[in-house]
């Protein structure tokens, strides 16, 4: 049974903040098939198209029939932990400061034998579930979890090192005015965040529901306007060093395309609120997040982008909105590279139309803000990098994978 995580004590201000280190990150191009699966929380291995052999480690040629057609497929994750050992010391700086570290050999029901990190509740000779997680370097690693959930299992130090669990972490929800922001504040409070900083822009504008917000125990309301560089910088100066997860909930959903739109005002607002807002947050909060990637159990963990799935393929009915979302997606890819040295994940959560006012005319299925907030919390708990929530997001992604050009035409009709 996992020892439940104790609420971290206040940091000793005289102690040096340890610099984040990364485990070895080099992977072959083929092996990034595992990275792709881990990023989405899938368990996928190469399965030979010719002889159906399940293959690990990733290879470019089937070891049993020499076929070159080895696509990654979701496979059953069950197996037996046939042997374990504990590494007492290491020459690798990352593991050196984390030993003792248990590793073991798992014989998968699907065939291969895989060397994996071990959850504390995974026992030699017992059945386990194998999972791929992104480690601090952003690369997929295998970890064996107990077959069934055990109490406090998310608090296991090995597992927590690979996830961004909000429990006892301090979260910034950048914009509370959107229904998504409000749902997010609630969801993080319920997930055990120790502080939920909630940004409110233009405090002189009324905000109904403020009293309800104040009643959520860990909520601290802070002035923050993502369109104002100075406001973002000031918030980072004040609270940046005690924010572990940033969730950007600023949005500007407006219908209308590119050609069929009168003037640039709305387009500029969309770019300012979404893309430039993201850049402002990244510049203000990114460096300190990256520096605090190994700052104890409540180390800096993640930057969450909420993205329309139409960042991946434009939806002309909401064309300029989708274009701004695409800019944010591109920025998020850059941020991933820049924040990875700190072990800080950039999690992109994709969704279709939301059950909110600006999608009033759009028929269901739509994603409720509370469902989106739950998906964000679960994604962080699982240590994911890419999350698709709702039927529309899943559908767009599936159609994009099959035939992008067809999808482009279909979105226009």
């Amino acid at each position: 049974m996992t020892e439940p995580l104790a609420r971290p004590k206040r940091k000793n201000p005289l102690q040096r903040t340890r610099r984040p280190l990364s485990p070895q990150a080099v992977r072959s191009r083929t092996a990034h098939g595992l990275t792709a699966a881990a990023a989405e929380g899938r368990f996928a291995l190469q399965v030979c198209e010719s002889c159906q052999t399940v293959i690990y480690p990733p290879r470019d040629c089937c070891p049993s029939c020499l076929s070159l057609r080895l696509p990654f497929r979701d496979v059953p994750r069950g197996g037996v932990l046939i042997a374990e050992t504990t590494v007492q010391t290491s020459t690798d700086p990352y593991f050196r400061e984390r030993t003792p570290w248990r590793v073991g050999t798992v014989k998968l029901d699907a065939g291969p034998v895989i060397v994996a990190h071990l959850h504390g509740d995974a026992r030699e000779g017992h059945r386990v579930r194998l999972d791929f997680k992104l480690d601090k370097s952003g690369s997929a690693v295998a970890i064996a979890l107990p077959e069934r959930d055990t109490p406090n299992m998310a608090d296991d130090p090995h597992l927590r090192e690979m996830t961004c669990d909000p429990k006892f972490r301090r979260v910034l929800v950048t914009d509370w005015r959107s229904p998504v922001g409000q749902a997010m504040a609630k969801a993080f409070a319920e997930a055990g965040a120790s502080i939920v900083f909630v940004g409110i822009a233009d405090a002189w504008k009324p905000f109904p529901g403020l009293e309800a917000l104040r009643k959520i125990a860990p909520v601290e309301i802070v002035p923050l306007d993502v369109t104002d560089t100075e406001s973002v910088a000031e918030q980072a100066e004040q609270n940046g060093a005690r924010i572990d997860i940033v969730v950007n909930t600023a949005e500007h959903v407006r219908s209308g395309g590119i050609v069929d739109r009168h003037g640039l005002t709305v387009v500029r607002e969309q770019i300012d609120i979404r893309y430039l807002g993201l850049v402002r947050l990244a510049q203000a909060f990114g460096p300190v997040l990256r520096a605090r990637g190994a700052d104890g159990v409540n180390s800096a963990a993640a930057f969450v982008n909420l993205l329309s799935v139409h960042a991946l393929m434009n939806w002309p009915e909401f064309g300029s909105y989708a274009a701004a979302e695409a800019a944010c997606l591109s920025a998020a890819q850059c941020m991933r590279a820049e924040l990875r040295p700190g072990g800080v994940k950039v999690m992109n959560v994709f969704f279709g139309p939301l059950e909110t006012e600006w999608f009033q005319t759009v028929p269901p299925p739509k994603v409720a803000p509370a469902a989106l907030a739950r998906a964000v919390v679960q994604g962080l708990q699982r240590g994911l990098e890419d999350v698709f929530i709702g039927d529309v997001a899943e559908d767009v992604r599936a159609r994009l994978a099959v035939n992008p050009k067809a999808l482009e035409r279909e979105m226009a009709s």
Binding site: D202, A203, W204, K205, D225, T229, E269
Partner: protein, 257 residues
């Protein structure tokens, strides 16, 4: 009469003529007018540092700014409103520059506004003011002192479920200012020249409709009106020369002898 501008400059320099700043500082936080969200919106003031004695410019500090024509303390030109759209010289770049200097009367309704944010200025109220201070002469700014500039931003905008609740003029008095008093323009401390609920008047937004319809000007987001006498101040209000600009943020100064 010969007027000596150098004597004027000397009087300003020596303090014989006092200069009072009626301008709010341009800050990101200062409220900007809010319209229904599906309509086009005026941009708030924003500032981005270009360099500050750093690698982006080692010996100099400067900023890029962005804002709307109607952000902060600003001037409204007749072209701003549909009623003034066809008048000659109706934009900030074509208005006769001599019109940027004009005397002002200051009507104090601060007590009434403190008691009632929906205070509406009426003809009888102004007639009572004239009974005390004399008739409003032609070509004067009429400045409405409400002390609204002293409010917190929340009370300043005073947005409720049914919109803004801030003081302003009734339609009849604006028409009367233009037709019976031939005023130069109308200036307020509030976010606009009109009553907060002015969209329910007939015509809606009468200060805009009547003033601009007759080629008169507007000033809003003024401050320090409590430092001005009822009569005797001269206002210097020269907007930026924006091509076909409907208005402009500006520095508004009052001269007092």
């Amino acid at each position: 009469m010969t007027v000596d501008v150098l004597s004027f400059a000397h009087a300003v320099a020596t303090g014989q003529i006092r200069v009072i700043d009626l301008t709010q500082t341009l800050t990101q936080e200062f409220p900007t007018i809010v319209l229904a969200p599906e309509l086009g919106q005026c941009a708030p003031f924003r500032i981005e540092e270009i360099s500050r004695y750093d690698e982006r410019g080692p010996a100099w500090y400067w900023n890029n700014i962005s804002l709307g024509e109607h952000t902060g303390t600003h001037f409204d030109a007749p072209i701003h409103w549909i009623s003034g759209k066809d008048l000659p010289n109706n934009a900030v770049d074509t208005i006769d520059v001599a019109k940027f200097f004009a005397p002002a009367v200051v009507i104090d309704c601060s007590k009434e506004c403190a008691a009632d944010p929906d205070f509406a200025l009426t003809i009888p109220f102004v007639e009572a003011w004239e009974a005390r201070h004399g008739k409003i002469e032609p070509d004067h700014w009429v400045l409405l002192r409400t002390d609204w500039s002293k409010q917190s931003f929340t009370d300043y905008a005073n947005l409720r479920d049914d919109g803004a609740h801030t003081p302003g003029p009734e339609p009849a008095v604006v028409k009367w200012f233009v037709e019976q008093r031939d005023v130069h323009g109308f200036g307020t401390e509030t976010i606009g020249t009109d009553f907060g609920q002015g969209h329910h008047f007939n015509p809606p937004f009468p200060a805009h409709f009547y003033m601009h319809g007759k080629g008169r000007f507007g000033l809003q987001c003024l401050t320090n009106l409590d430092l001005l006498p009822p009569k005797g101040a001269v206002i210097v209000a020269a907007p930026l020369k924006i091509k076909q600009g409907s208005g402009s943020p500006l520095r508004v100064l009052a001269l007092l002898s």
